[in-house]
Symmetry: C2
DNA sequence: TAGATTGTTAATCGATTAACAATC
DNA sequence: TAGATTGTTAATCGATTAACAATC
């Protein structure tokens, strides 16, 4: 690790590098140069080398990069080898769809439990994950110390639920509520998935003018 | 409409402006200045004025902006008043979760039908939307001319399904497959929702180093 | 060794912020 | 009218691209 302040633009490109390197590795490709990777990804070789230089020196002059080695390095930078623990808070349609479909493990996350208020759901299992009563949060979190909460609760309780989780020690939020959350507590991180914003940018681009 | 080339950075901020103005309007606020809006949103007044100037002149010196008027203008720029038609292709967990939870109407979209290959799903309704056989696409699309397809099919058939829809005339794709789609056909637009990329950026930011 | 390709420094480009005349 | 705030031009900042010495 080299740089202190890596820009958000660089960070947001890392997962894409990780994905491409993963695919190349699966295809059995052993080495790649920044120029051929750039061609595949539709970006410049300069950008790739500049981005990587934020974190260290991973290549070799005259050779390029070892695909599996670079994939592992970027995975390490992203923290996929940390076995972060995650819980799903709100086991409605969206929460259950994520549990059933999203491969948390592939991103290095260990999904430990889901929480809901609905008596119909409490006590059941979704995709092998137990759904617990929301009232259990106060017991569960100090015991299991999850790193991230997937927030899939109704908008009306989004901020109050986040506050409750922050008080209990959760610092990472994967926020699907479409509410912009805030906190004054240090080191709390919100990653928002704003479906509506995403669809509206598509709407803009297909709108004839 | 003024500018030809509005940068992606500006376009991606528009939905957020739209959201904030919507909230202000709901709260009964009639006028707002760029500086007080900027303060609320955590951005500079300059940026707001610069962004808006890409599309026209919506304010008044000494007064600021009429909230409802500006909201409507940005809505128009984004195309929410176009009643774009949308179909969901792939009615698995994620497709059904979107149909049940996502307010397509609030973004100006009219959800017309869902499609799947599963006999268990074909013929049923999800959230008031009929689930049709994928084989019906060839009949349905020329007839209803949907503007956007929500792509929630398995990764293995993502590109081939996209190609099929493009051949039938679909030009907008809200892509949840985590596969990067391509097309040589003009005016085809892909808006990717990369869950894994999003979670990995969160992983990066909570990883102690 | 010769060719290829890195990591890094310098140049360019674009986006954000500041300043201010115009004017409601 | 005086104060406030716009739209726009200029200045600054940061990110991307180009160039190249170092070296495998």
């Amino acid at each position: 690790m080299k740089k202190q302040n890596v820009s958000d633009a660089v960070i947001r490109r890392l997962p894409r590098y990780y994905r491409y390197l993963h695919d190349l590795h699966r295809k059995g490709i052993v080495r790649i140069s920044s120029s051929s990777l750039g061609e595949k990804m539709g970006i410049t070789a300069s950008q790739i080398r500049q981005d990587l230089s934020c974190f260290g020196e991973f290549g070799q002059q005259g050779y390029g990069y070892n695909v599996e080695e670079l994939r592992a390095e970027i995975g390490h930078i992203l923290g996929v080898d940390r076995q972060h623990r995650v819980i799903v808070v709100g086991a409605g349609n969206l929460g259950r769809a994520l549990i059933n479909n999203f491969r948390f493990h592939d991103s290095g996350f260990l999904l430990e439990a889901a929480f809901d208020v609905s008596p119909n759901l409490i006590g059941t299992e979704v995709g092998g994950v137990p759904v617990l009563n929301m009232t259990e949060l106060e017991r569960f979190i100090p015991e299991h110390r999850p790193d991230v909460a997937v927030l899939t609760v109704p908008q009306a309780v989004a901020q109050s639920t986040a506050n409750r989780l922050i008080d209990l020690g959760v610092r990472g939020f994967w926020n699907f509520t479409n509410v912009e959350l805030t906190s004054t507590v240090e080191n709390v991180r919100f990653e928002d998935v704003h479906f509506a914003d995403s669809l509206l940018t598509l709407s803009y681009r297909i709108t004839a003018r």
